[in-house]
């Protein structure tokens, strides 16, 4: 099964209410027509600047943020059509790991209780079986089983994220949406957690949707990568393709910003002018045209569609469709 998780034209809009009577004056298009597919067992990386809608995309897929439109097919089942109860049961198979492990763990509950709750909610095992699987899970993520009686604030950042991962994993989900799971951690701890996540993926046959703004981390863990800009996907490709031959000018700019460990390597750094435009008033045509070094007249008028330029390499850009400008690499 190749198209295991299929996201089609996903839209999540937020109304902005202003004035005395709460009229909806404008709409923030946090996610505006995102489509991609994730294969079973792979890691799909989603990158972009802060505020580009990558986190909202992740949440909308799990319906933790209610999408405005689009479909999400998970093993052939449309998540958007599920009723409240069905969705609640479905959550067992789709779990999320959050960015800030401290604020995402209820400070009033012990780790044991935090880990046990999903099992209770989904009616898995009796009390002693649940306790055993909590201990097992803690050991799987590399923590002593005795930690079950402690509270989240008594742990370090890295340990907390291990707990966050254990919490997501304990119901044995198929899909894990990891929303910036390591950005709150020290670099040395980041690699430990990333390695743990890779081990777990192998051992449990997990599929990851890995959201991050850190290209280095995404490059390390992902099989395929999607680049988002202002609520839309601009480029999707296999990791090797994307990092060696980025086609979209935005991706090129992002990649040129990765710090290089070799000080002698001479590289041209593409510095984008201006700021990320407001998602409430997205530019017409291609949203990136206000900052794109190659912008043409066409770009401000017509929104480019996602086109498969090479095998498995999809990009939304007018550039070589009109043949106006050679693409630099």
């Amino acid at each position: 099964m190749s198209e295991w998780l299929e996201v089609n034209d996903l839209k999540t809009y937020y109304p902005v209410k202003k004035g005395l009577f709460g009229r909806t004056s404008e709409t923030i298009k946090a996610v505006d027509g995102v489509s991609f597919a994730v294969r079973k067992g792979e890691t799909f990386g989603l990158v972009g600047e802060s505020g580009c809608g990558k986190s909202t995309t992740g949440r909308s897929i799990l319906r933790l943020a209610e999408p405005t439109g689009g479909t999400v097919l998970f093993e052939g089942q449309d998540i958007m059509k599920l009723g409240k109860e069905e969705l609640r049961r479905q959550r067992r198979h789709m779990q999320m790991v959050f960015q800030d492990p401290l604020s995402s763990l209820n400070p009033r509950h012990t780790v044991g209780k935090l880990l046990e709750e999903p099992l209770i909610v989904h009616g898995l095992g009796n009390s002693s079986e649940r306790k055993r699987s909590v201990r097992e899970m803690l050991e799987i993520v590399g923590l002593p089983a005795g930690f079950a009686s402690r509270y989240p604030h008594q742990f370090s950042g890295g340990q907390r994220q291990r707990i966050g991962i254990a919490r997501a994993l304990i119901v044995r989900p198929k899909l894990i949406v990891a929303d910036e799971p390591v950005s709150a951690l020290d670099v040395s701890i980041q690699s430990q957690v990333i390695n743990l996540m890779q081990d777990l993926q192998r051992d449990f046959g997990l599929t990851y949707l890995f959201i991050s703004h850190d290209l280095g981390v995404v490059r390390h863990i992902s099989d395929r990568v999607g680049v988002m800009y202002l609520g839309r996907l601009v480029e999707v490709a296999d990791k090797q393709d994307l990092f060696s031959r980025p086609l979209h000018p935005y991706t090129q700019a992002l990649l040129s910003a990765i710090p290089n460990a070799n000080p002698d390597a001479k590289r041209e750094r593409i510095v984008l002018g201006g700021d990320l435009p407001s998602a409430a008033q997205a530019p017409s045509g291609c949203a990136f045209h206000t900052r794109c070094p190659y912008a043409m007249e066409l770009c401000s008028k017509v929104m480019p569609r996602m086109v498969e330029r090479e095998r498995g390499h999809v990009v939304a850009c007018h550039l070589d469709q009109t043949g106006n400008e050679a693409i630099r690499c």
Binding site: R88, R91, Q95, N106, P107, V121, Q154
Partner: protein, 334 residues
């Protein structure tokens, strides 16, 4: 938890000592000679001098303070000038009456206030939210005595649903065992009388509980709005936890600290005796006891009454502090 409890209890000692000094000083600052008050205006100077000596009023103030402290520690709160009985004996039923009314008022205030606050936060900016918060605003600003009078006019006089005065039907008094009529009637298996006791509790209970209810509703809404927006709520939902449990188990427990603070303070204030409410509803509580003592210049009663109320207030705060640690495990590790 034990260490935390002991630490908190140990901290009570200086608080209670300081309080006894303040009460002692207030009484000494009040003009008027206690001997004259006890013996009356027409007493002879010899009699006054004799009483001064026997009461120890000629001793230096610190000697007086320590003998006062010794008396309190021994459970002796002095003797009422009006009734000539030991205050420690006669204060009990008044305290019990106030306590019963307070418990009833606070249960009403907490149940309605917390739930209204939760619903308001859960459905923020809905018509329910607006209505509940408007009622809460009115509830905070309405004078309690006026609300009490209106209740009596509507429910007692006009509709004749509920009694307006007293703790129980005067023709059928409760045989007091503990002083708590709800408990006493249950112990005596007089369930018809229990119903009567409850009916008497309704109007003063609601009058006294309205302000705490409104404050609790507003605090709950604020705390719950914040808690509902936090990450661990999203985590709970992502686990597939039922929405009811998300709200009442995950969010409420986190939002409960400020609510608890308000509940503690309000309970303390009600226990201190709501003089106006107790007067309007003819409730024989501590507020009225003190009120009559003040009108009769019964200094020993005033002094001991204030001390007892202050001790109760401190004890409630201790309970609140201990509950903090239960609701927020981070507190006891600090």
């Amino acid at each position: 938890m034990l260490a935390y409890t002991l630490r908190r209890v140990a901290m009570l000692v200086p608080v209670l000592l300081g309080m006894s000094i303040i009460v002692f000083m207030i009484i000494h600052a009040i003009p008027g000679d206690p001997a004259v008050i006890i013996l009356g205006q027409k007493a002879t100077p010899e009699a006054i001098a004799e009483l001064h000596a026997s009461l120890g009023l000629n001793d230096p103030w610190y000697v007086q303070y320590f003998s006062y402290l010794k008396n309190i520690a021994g459970g002796d709160l002095g003797t009422s000038i009006q009734t000539k009985t030991a205050i420690s004996k006669e204060i009990g039923p008044y305290l019990a009456a106030t306590f019963e009314l307070t418990v009833f008022s606070m249960l009403f205030a907490i149940f309605i206030g917390v739930n209204a606050g939760i619903l308001s936060a859960w459905r923020r900016n809905s018509w329910f939210d607006y209505t509940a918060m408007l009622i809460a605003l009115i509830g905070v600003s309405m004078p309690v005595f006026w609300l009490g009078l209106m209740e009596q006019w509507l429910f007692a006089q006009h509709l004749n649903w509920l009694p307006s005065i007293g703790r129980v039907n005067a023709r059928d008094p409760v045989e007091s065992i503990s002083g708590f009529y709800v408990l006493d009637t249950i112990l005596a298996r007089r369930f018809d009388q229990l119903e009567d006791v409850f009916k008497h509790l309704v109007l003063p209970g609601i009058a006294m509980g309205t302000v705490p209810m409104a404050i609790i509703a507003r605090i709950t809404r604020a705390g719950m709005s914040e808690a509902m927006a936090s990450e661990y709520i999203r985590t709970a939902r992502s686990k597939g936890v039922h929405e009811f449990m998300v709200v009442y188990k995950h969010a409420l427990k986190n939002a409960f600290i400020p609510i608890l603070t308000v509940i503690g303070l309000q309970t303390g204030m009600l226990l201190g005796g709501a003089v106006l409410t107790e007067t309007i509803f003819g409730w024989p509580g501590i507020g009225r006891y003190l009120y009559s003592a003040i009108s009769a210049r019964d200094y020993p009663v005033i002094q001991s009454g204030i001390l007892v109320i202050a001790v109760i207030f401190v004890c409630i705060n201790l309970v609140v502090d201990l509950l903090y640690a239960y609701f927020d495990p981070r507190i006891k590790h600090r």
